[in-house]
Subunit: 349 residues, 3 copies
Amino acid sequence: MQQPAKVISFTLAEIAAQLGGDVLGDGDIRIFQVSTLAAAGEGEIAFLANRKYRGQLQTTRAAAVLLSPADAAGYAGACIVTANPYAYYARVASLLNPVQAGFCGVHPGATVDSVVPDSVAIGPQVCIGRNVELGDSVVIHAGCVIGDGVRIGAGSMLYPNVTVYHGCELGERVIIHSGAVIGADGFGFAPEGKSWVKIPQIGIVRIGNDVEIGANTTIDRGALEDTLIGDGCKIDNLVQIAHNCRIGPNSVLAGCVGIAGSVTMGEHCVVGGAGMVTGHLSLAEGTTISAGSLVMKSINEPGQRYTGVFPLDTHDDWVHNAAHIRRLGKLADRVSELEKKLKEIEIRD
Amino acid sequence: MQQPAKVISFTLAEIAAQLGGDVLGDGDIRIFQVSTLAAAGEGEIAFLANRKYRGQLQTTRAAAVLLSPADAAGYAGACIVTANPYAYYARVASLLNPVQAGFCGVHPGATVDSVVPDSVAIGPQVCIGRNVELGDSVVIHAGCVIGDGVRIGAGSMLYPNVTVYHGCELGERVIIHSGAVIGADGFGFAPEGKSWVKIPQIGIVRIGNDVEIGANTTIDRGALEDTLIGDGCKIDNLVQIAHNCRIGPNSVLAGCVGIAGSVTMGEHCVVGGAGMVTGHLSLAEGTTISAGSLVMKSINEPGQRYTGVFPLDTHDDWVHNAAHIRRLGKLADRVSELEKKLKEIEIRD
Amino acid sequence: MQQPAKVISFTLAEIAAQLGGDVLGDGDIRIFQVSTLAAAGEGEIAFLANRKYRGQLQTTRAAAVLLSPADAAGYAGACIVTANPYAYYARVASLLNPVQAGFCGVHPGATVDSVVPDSVAIGPQVCIGRNVELGDSVVIHAGCVIGDGVRIGAGSMLYPNVTVYHGCELGERVIIHSGAVIGADGFGFAPEGKSWVKIPQIGIVRIGNDVEIGANTTIDRGALEDTLIGDGCKIDNLVQIAHNCRIGPNSVLAGCVGIAGSVTMGEHCVVGGAGMVTGHLSLAEGTTISAGSLVMKSINEPGQRYTGVFPLDTHDDWVHNAAHIRRLGKLADRVSELEKKLKEIEIRD
């Protein structure tokens, strides 16, 4: 896999020429790496994205800082001014730490039964089936297995030991981490007495452009129609997405999330770690589900945040109730006390 | 892996000859694929299994429909009448979409240290250890690793990158999806001061006939005795089954379920997605655990459904209480109001 | 993988010579295997670690038993007396069931781009990148992929189909089970409008000595700093550890646990199955989190046990409240009754 990158550096002026923004101070300062305000040293560029850390601007030893216009106003050191310092930091980090295949062409230890472009890099022990279509510069690391008829768009990278079942389609610039399984059979069985008859899963998985999928995540193929992952979705490790789901573009699913079958999520939804959504529900555009929450009914109002387990509730209502759950014992004591006093009053009367 | 199937078709009469049922209407209608009542078109057969969709019978453009005797009575189009249309649909779908290895024999890129039947299909980069016994027509896809002494029954299929540890036994017609790990060490350590001494796991995993196991699921070998998965069990993706569990025949475990060590489940239990069962518990035959629930005590009464987290409860009691949890804040307000009024009465008195 | 062990046996005297403890009774009794008091037969040694099973000492057919001094006092049969019979049992089990690679040297079907010691065992289809450093007697089973620059300490064993990304470091005697992924990119994206900019993950994963990691577990590399797993940690299957976590030495994470990014856990913490810890929290030394619990705030007091979901609470307080949650419906009925009676009193007044 990936070889440790050679030392790469750019001056502030070179960075701004590529990524935009205004350099204040010495544009010839040479940057070798990114860091935080607290940890940065010589040759390192830091960023201020959260005003909570503003005090660190006084003490940082960073060679330069990425700042919003408001924060740059009071800063005497070298900086690049940009509307979104955090996204800019992400791009500088990519410039300084490019992802490289570390090899090119088709390794002689790979088994490739399709015609592939010269620009691809296919590692040892990779198996590529028949009628597979790879875009330019696709990188497939060691041990991956790509089923018959799979299509993978240009610039995509599959880390070692990924499996893509037959017929599935991946967009451009898709990143899939090790152990992920795309297109295994959905979980469909018809009951017959006490046993179960397997329902063939004849849909596929279609993944859009610029999607990233974490290690050991599983996305099942559709039963009749396809499972769809929209452009720009970011999916963490050990996530399960069942058959026929439609995940809206730019949605984010954190680690250990489970999405049951036939769930439809609108654009730009976010599900926190270990959040679960039960089958056949819809989540409106921009819905946020807090970590550890269980969604058991559709959410129709867009842009809301939900939290909780048995039952789920709006986050604010949940916070209000949760405090009472912790005090339930005391509440019960108060009710007992009330009953006692009432009885005294009634006897007295 | 699997090549896209060639076009396969059968007439209604041919289907009924193979699967039973009565054809009403033109038995020569040719069927190429299955679909839903809403989506089916020319050459497609649909089914009605849920009376909720009965109205779609009026408008469906399906070439034929699978119907129960009651529903067939009022239907004018071509149909096959069967007691269980959903199971029949599953079988028609299998006829029209047969699973094919896409290759046969032992791929020269496999490493096979055992004698295997001529009827097996073993893909590239597969590793098979010593003293492995494979039944007829076993299919092992690329990248699987089969440990020494493993036995796999006839007609079983392992998708790419499955690992089966030494000594484990799989029945006939078992399906294991990519990335699943069968027989890794159970999680057993003896405390000694603040550190932990590993306890060797000398049992195996025994899997019955007709079991299906999902992608990236893990089933651990036993500590002293074996971990047992009964005939006909269906296990979804990313499920964890710890050492010494005994899962009863025809049980169903949905995605992301976790079963801790030494759990015994009776026949035909169902655990919904992300359900968890803590260690050393028993679940009676026919127990259903709702999605997201946490089971912390044994369930002795057969055939009941349980729901909840901290604590678990019968489903009906949980539904009753859950409504109150949502209104806990208001309940507390009412108690405060009562206390205030009582104080007024007491002062007045 | 591992070949079934040849029959190994030791006399009680030989065992005590290797592991310590005092033999009472015939030291020439030959032991072939470990078992439980209830199941042990000829040639098998059992143990009593939980006084609950003390009655079984009367009826056991074990050839010998491992006993604490207190329990040995009243036992007439052959035994080895030791302060910690359970840990002693673990060690006897390891003597009788040694883990063997089943092969040695570098398999010709492996792709190895680094210089490795003669003492290592590297299976078929293994891929080892450039500048990899392996300690003595490292065993890497079939299908593993080891990235450039990885270091693995002496005596470590990787089961089949493990992936270790470039640059990561593993200590000595580390065991990693199949399908585990060490060092995939942490989940880091900067928002920009509705889309997300990938933040390169330039840290690594550093794993201490004597760590065991379960099947299909994922441990992400750090964003800027490293992800750290302390010496002696034991991590079960399907666990997710996000970027920048620091897991204290000798901590135990059971199956399906999820630890979000930048969590710091002190020494000897225990998280029960499916427990979840949200991001940027600290857990004090010796903290125990019950199975299925969700931790949403830092825990500063060392050595406490916490249980619950929305919200988490000390275990004792949770048990007290949980009983009330089950009776919430009745509590609400009592409040209604109070309100009714108060109204009667007020009308009467």
